[in-house]
Symmetry: C2
Amino acid sequence: MLGKVVVIGVGLIGGSFALALKKAGAARQVVGMGRSQEVMARALELGIVDSVTESPEEAMAGADLVLLAAPVAQTGPILAALAPYLDIGTVVTDAGSTKSDVVASARAALGSKVKQFVPAHPIAGRESNGPDAALAELYQGKKTVITPLPENDAGDVGLVAAAWRLCGAIIHTLTPEEHDRVFAAVSHLPHLLAFGLVDDIARKPHADLLFQYAASGFRDFTRIAGSSPEMWRDISLANRDALLTELDAYLAQLTILREHLAAGDGAQLEAIYTNAQRARRAWSEAIETAEPPPPKTQEPE
Amino acid sequence: MLGKVVVIGVGLIGGSFALALKKAGAARQVVGMGRSQEVMARALELGIVDSVTESPEEAMAGADLVLLAAPVAQTGPILAALAPYLDIGTVVTDAGSTKSDVVASARAALGSKVKQFVPAHPIAGRESNGPDAALAELYQGKKTVITPLPENDAGDVGLVAAAWRLCGAIIHTLTPEEHDRVFAAVSHLPHLLAFGLVDDIARKPHADLLFQYAASGFRDFTRIAGSSPEMWRDISLANRDALLTELDAYLAQLTILREHLAAGDGAQLEAIYTNAQRARRAWSEAIETAEPPPPKTQEPE
């Protein structure tokens, strides 16, 4: 049982964390903090938080656990604002989609107090945002990746893991660098590719004709191009090195596919398509066994 | 009202056409023909066709309309087998995903009788295949693209259009070359890209780790990589020139994205992402207005 939990950014991610802890009876008091008074008022109205504050000092006083659920580019400024009021017994965690840059910002903002910061990334989301989209069940059966720092106490890492388990999440542990390499491949690159394809089509002189005949394959392939441009700009830049590595590997793959296609080499094309189909089906079966399809959940943001 | 309709290949596409015409009371007799005795027996059992035959002569005798619904690579051999028995009053059409190659095969196989061949492509499908997947409603509200030949009589084109309208389809007209350029961009390229991405990930030494963290964005982006490798090998080769043009444009786009990313140019990345999001949302709204989401239909095959 936690005493005081502070959620900074009470939108989909932070709000769902707060609701899940409340539902589990695991937090005596949840305090919300954020830049938008409107969002804070709505979170209070929805019962996601018990109180709101604009004062870092008031928020940090006696806090057991602080979740940072704001865009990753704000990590440094927010932690710098909290740092002077951070009690020795308070554990801070985050929910950012990238980890190496978050860790670098946390080190710069917190100095030696970075030992109290346990970075994490819950792998869940929905298409909609804001406090009204928050769900107590959002993390049920989903992964949360914790990327502990060498400076972290085992007890603090355990506290963050326990809080996410109370939300229904399954805990995985990676280093920040491993995390960023993995998500560059399976999330950040696909987003860049989908944005790139839709922009490419939209700029063609006959774009209207093309879009007219786009069907369900196009719809699924490009669904993630409907995501927030600002958020994905930040993620792309925050994870630039790993994303460039994955993009270069993919460009090499497309160059090979282009050669097979230009040569009319059906056997080579079929070998690649067959390997992809096999791997896609194996993944699909494995993931559906491990994580039964949830209602309306979507890519992490 | 059609008298005798022949469907060659009574799987999802041909079977659904037969069922829709029967449901509309628009065909006195539907004859099925195909390579697999098992499939033909099942189509008969399901009432999709009234009779089956292995004889082109028997099938063609007195036929009003013939639908070729076999893989596009079989167009030439099948039409060559039918040609000697093709009555002057019979109209032949097809349902292939590519058109220029189908037209070339038809010209070679039919000679001057190519005037009786009206190429078409219904833009509908499902994940499952075979006669058991056939649905009378498959084409309801979906597009069918007809790509008439200069040799076609207007009356024959009208007959094919009327048959598809009876199935509930909305008729569009393109030239075979326009058709292939359009579908290279909005269907064939996305398939190649999705196959390419999954194969790329699957070949990495840490593929198991990567797949473990792939979530719903990856699932949607790669759904079409679960499609038939053989079918997509054939489509890729059949539409090679248009697909190479689209692939090269996309490679140029990715090269630009790579430059912006390497330069850390957030404004340029955001401009591309924003244009893509805007276009994707506009498309999604337009398509949902024009075609209300149907039950469980999928990418054309």
